[in-house]
């Protein structure tokens, strides 16, 4: 009789433990799903997919209970078998469930921007906050409180206005001379693609730290300049060299810090012709000295490999 009662108790305890284990497993899984879904969805975002970022981080959530710890141990073993690299546990204190979700969305998005080396860390952080806020506001499954928290985080950033301007297609008309028809937002069509492509190019060339820092400061100066309307972009396309020369003259007069000349494919020769023409004119006529930096790489456009040529022309006032 005693044996029967003992075995019954054992069965009840086992069933109860299994139930609790499943309960904790599903609770922690829910948070992990938040991270995974964000990472997956953000990869589908047109702008991010254009950047060509592949998502390589994952998280294991441990809510601290014994069952959660057992779950973490099991998940670590599975990850090891799959050949993943497991880092030491990060302890995060005093986060309520809304803050935990907002934290995971933000971190999942920041992971995609993590490899961009040629922009300031602060700017990348603010960029990740913008995309976290945008992702949350566009995703139905994200709670209102989480959306509110992520919006508040983005609104506190110092680069909020700059990012908003660079995302606004109407604003691009103010700083782009002769834009090609596909221009939508400067951030997603110009700034991020150049920075990520050039970052890859520098990695391939084993560029030095000093070289990377020089390009970082150039890209930041250009990005901030586009926000403050001290830099402009001149796309070289189907117009005549005289017409582009007139745009160039206009840009030198109107924008105080510099102009970025951009061309792709067959139009690159017109860009070089324009630059040669500009160099023939004595710089004293404009009262400025030009410093040019070339960014050239090959990237497919409509399925064909095309050369992309950007000439960053900084201006220095002649005393």
């Amino acid at each position: 009789m005693i044996a029967l009662i003992a075995s019954l108790i054992a069965i009840v305890v086992f069933v109860l433990s299994a139930f609790l284990f499943i309960l904790f497993w599903s609770e922690d899984s829910r948070l992990e799903k938040y991270y995974k879904l964000t990472a997956k969805d953000i990869g589908k975002t047109e702008a991010i997919s254009k950047i060509g970022v592949s998502f390589k981080t994952d998280v294991i959530i441990d809510s601290g209970h014994n069952y959660s710890r057992l779950r973490t141990a099991i998940k670590k073993v599975i990850s090891r078998i799959r050949g993943h690299k497991i880092l030491d546990t990060l302890l995060v204190f005093n986060r309520n469930s809304t803050e935990q979700r907002a934290f995971l969305i933000f971190e999942a998005i920041k992971g995609t921007f993590f490899h961009i080396e040629l922009l300031d860390a602060d700017f990348i952080e603010d960029l990740a906050k913008y995309y976290a806020f945008r992702y949350a506001s566009e995703t139905k499954s994200v709670d209102k409180d989480v959306k509110f928290l992520l919006r508040k985080d983005f609104e506190k950033t110092s680069n909020r206005n700059c990012i908003a301007k660079l995302m606004d297609p109407k604003y691009s008309e103010k700083v782009v001379l002769n834009p090609p028809p596909e221009i939508k937002s400067l951030l997603e069509e110009i700034v991020l693609p150049i920075v990520t492509e050039w970052s890859e190019e520098l990695k391939g060339r084993n560029a030095t730290h000093a070289e990377k820092e020089r390009f970082k400061s150039l890209f930041m100066e250009n990005t901030k300049g586009l926000c403050h309307r001290t830099w402009c972009i001149l796309f070289i396309g189907k117009l005549t060299i005289d017409e582009y020369m007139s745009f160039f003259n206009q840009s030198v007069r109107k924008f105080s810090k510099g102009v970025m000349l951009a061309a792709r494919g067959g139009n690159v020769r017109y860009l070089l012709e324009l630059w040669n023409r500009a160099c023939e004119i004595p710089q004293s006529r404009w009262g400025v000295k030009f410093h040019a930096t070339d960014i050239v790489y090959q990237k497919p456009y409509r399925g064909y490999p095309v050369v992309w040529y950007y000439k960053f022309v900084s201006k220095e006032k002649i005393a």
Binding site: K56, T57, D58, V59, I60, I61, D62, S63, G64, T72, K76, S79, R82, G83, H84, K85, I86, L87, D88, T89, L90, L91, V92, F93, N94, R95, Q100, F103, F106, E107, K110, G111, F114, E125, D153
Partner: protein, 96 residues
């Protein structure tokens, strides 16, 4: 015989999928969310102590039990982060 013909493509697909998954190696970060009441217990269990020289790895502010936001302890170093949301948000990148 027919069963073998039916099973073979399934096994092949499963093998290719498993191979693909194995080839996509990731960096996995275990995150443990700790409540206010468990804070002290967890620190003691991990042999971590806070003193006046404990600074936030992001902003440099002194970290106390009240403003402790995140900790990552590795065999070589321990990183303490204060509870400011910007600093806690930077914690994952610091750990990577």
């Amino acid at each position: 015989m027919w069963i073998l013909f039916a099973i073979f493509p399934l096994v092949a697909i499963a093998g290719i999928t498993a191979g693909y998954k194995l080839s996509r190696k990731k960096v996995v970060l275990p995150i443990r969310f700790v409540d206010e009441e468990d804070k002290k217990k967890i620190l003691e269990a991990n042999g971590l102590k806070l003193d006046e020289n404990t600074k936030c790895s992001v902003c440099g502010e002194t970290v106390t039990l009240e403003n402790l936001g995140a900790v990552r302890s590795t065999p070589s170093e321990t990183i303490f982060i204060c509870s400011k949301s910007d600093c806690v948000n930077a914690s994952l990148i610091i750990s990577l």
